[in-house]
Amino acid sequence: MDALSFVDVSKKFGNKYALKNVTFSIPRGATAGLLGPNGAGKTTSIKIAVGILKRTSGEVKILNLDPWANEEEARQKIGVLHEKPIYPLGVRVIDLLNHLARLKGVNRRDVKMVLDLTGLKEYANARIRMLSRGFVQRLGLAQALLGDPEILLLDEPTANLDPIARIEILNLINNLRKELSLTIIISSHIIPELQKVCNYAVFIGNGKILDYGPMGELASRYQVGTIFKVYALQPRRVAASIIEEEYVESIEIHESFLKVRIKAGYSKNLENKVIESGAEKIELLTANLEEIYKKAVAYAS
């Protein structure tokens, strides 16, 4: 079952289309990047997925629910961090989270848990206006995590943050991805940030979908180099067996695994070769997202 699917979705504001015949899907468990320039339709897509904007036409399903018609049921299962979120500034962090927890039907233990998880525990009694931008964004993540959501939708989570806060938030998202088994959908126009956390990508531009899919698939579709993680009991032995292959660009040897960078289109060859050499498991680590995106944009235009 898909976590989120858009089928032929359009959204008009007045006479202008913000989304036009958009179709894409994101499978459960993926960490997906919704990538596109400013004004591409990312925020509109997220707001439609949450059910606070009504699509003009098409079909949207989030965890198999229509977010407009079954709004309460759908929102019970999702957590959202909006772009430039607005909070009541005079309210204490704990009071806002307690109120939102009540709306979600979860108890105060859950509030404590998200405060711990996002590093906000010390600021629980602070008024929101006293928080720095980085901590306001942590509050955004904390409220989104209330009630164990199955999908986390993060709209430009690092926008307007200074470099240190940006790194902190990205690390936090990475930790969440590792610790919690949930689907994360991150909208951003900053490619290196998505590169760090995503294994699935949806490219959007001018309200239209350019392409979407798992990173590995996109990499082979657009002939872009990829990096694999190869687990082996004797990594050096496996490395020796593939180092001569012409498609291998670089190898990084670690204690129990290798990081192998290869040219585009040779994934199968590598997979066969390392298994033959005694590797236990091979998994796609990442592909060059910027390269894929550029090729997808060029292909679409």
Partner: protein, 262 residues
């Protein structure tokens, strides 16, 4: 739905509406102060402009006090109703609507916070001092004036509310609400004066049946201004309540079908 509306209404009132609560408290104090000034000879019913003396030979101006405080209470409710537009405009609404509260429950929570809570506060601010001063006076009111005040203020506040969720701009919603609550009654009164002059010019008699439409939006003013024509409070209520229910139904349908918080 109702539970979540109450939870959110409580949050709005408790945390976001501090200024509003202060205004209502000040209003209550003013009201209690005026009422206490009437001691010990307070002895009228609230029937506008016809002070029936129950037990004192010196009637005081209780009805004008209520007219003034109810006017302020109406302005507060209209401003509070328009406040939802600023929440939609700024983006706070998107935060709350990302949680499992339906659009309708969210709108109802604002109605409870902006109309129901102030109405209860207004009622209590009037009835508690009256109960302390002279319980007979409270029972003498009969509740009809209070009902008409609440109906009139609710109508104005819901119009302001509707403007807020359709226009999504606080300034516009406030302009619509204030126009309806403050300016339109003067325009209507002017039209009624013209109508009355025309009828007397043509030799026809001016009766309450010529001006019943005034009660659609302003049931209390209708009852207050045209008491001399023999209008009854329930006539005013019967004209206003269907209209109030109609705009409430329109608000519900609009919210369910079209209201977007983005």
């Amino acid at each position: 739905m109702q539970v979540k509306s109450l939870i959110h209404a409580n949050f709005i009132t408790r945390i976001l509406f501090k200024e509003f609560i202060i205004s209502m408290t000040v209003l209550s104090i003013i009201q209690a102060f005026f009422l206490s000034l009437m001691l010990p000879s307070i002895a009228i019913s609230l029937r506008p402009y016809s002070y029936h003396i129950h037990f004192s030979p010196s009637p005081k101006l209780l009805a004008p006090v209520i007219s003034i405080t109810s006017y302020i209470y109406g302005i507060i409710a209209v401003i509070a109703a328009a406040q939802i537009a600023s929440e939609i405009e700024r983006g706070d609404a998107a935060l709350y609507l990302s949680f499992p509260i339906s659009r309708l429950s969210y709108i109802f929570s604002w109605i409870i916070a902006a109309i129901v809570f102030p109405s209860v506060m207004y009622f209590l601010s009037l009835s508690i001092p009256l109960l302390i001063i002279e319980p007979k006076l409270l029972f003498g009111i009969g509740g009809e004036e209070l009902l008409l005040i609440v109906l009139q203020v609710s109508t104005s506040a819901i119009i302001s509310f509707l403007a807020a969720i359709i226009l999504k701009r606080r300034a516009f919603a406030l302009a619509v609400g204030m126009f309806e609550y403050i300016i339109l009654p003067f325009i209507f009164t002017f039209i009624i004066a013209l109508l009355s002059s025309y009828l007397s010019y043509t030799g026809q008699s001016f009766t309450s049946s010529n001006i019943w439409w005034f009660a659609i939006l302003y049931p209390y003013n209708y009852y207050l201004f045209f008491d001399y024509l023999g209008v009854k409070w329930f006539e005013a209520a019967c004209v206003n309540i269907p209209f109030l229910l109609f705009i409430l139904a329109f608000l519900i349908i609009y919210t369910k079908r079209y209201f977007e918080a983005g």
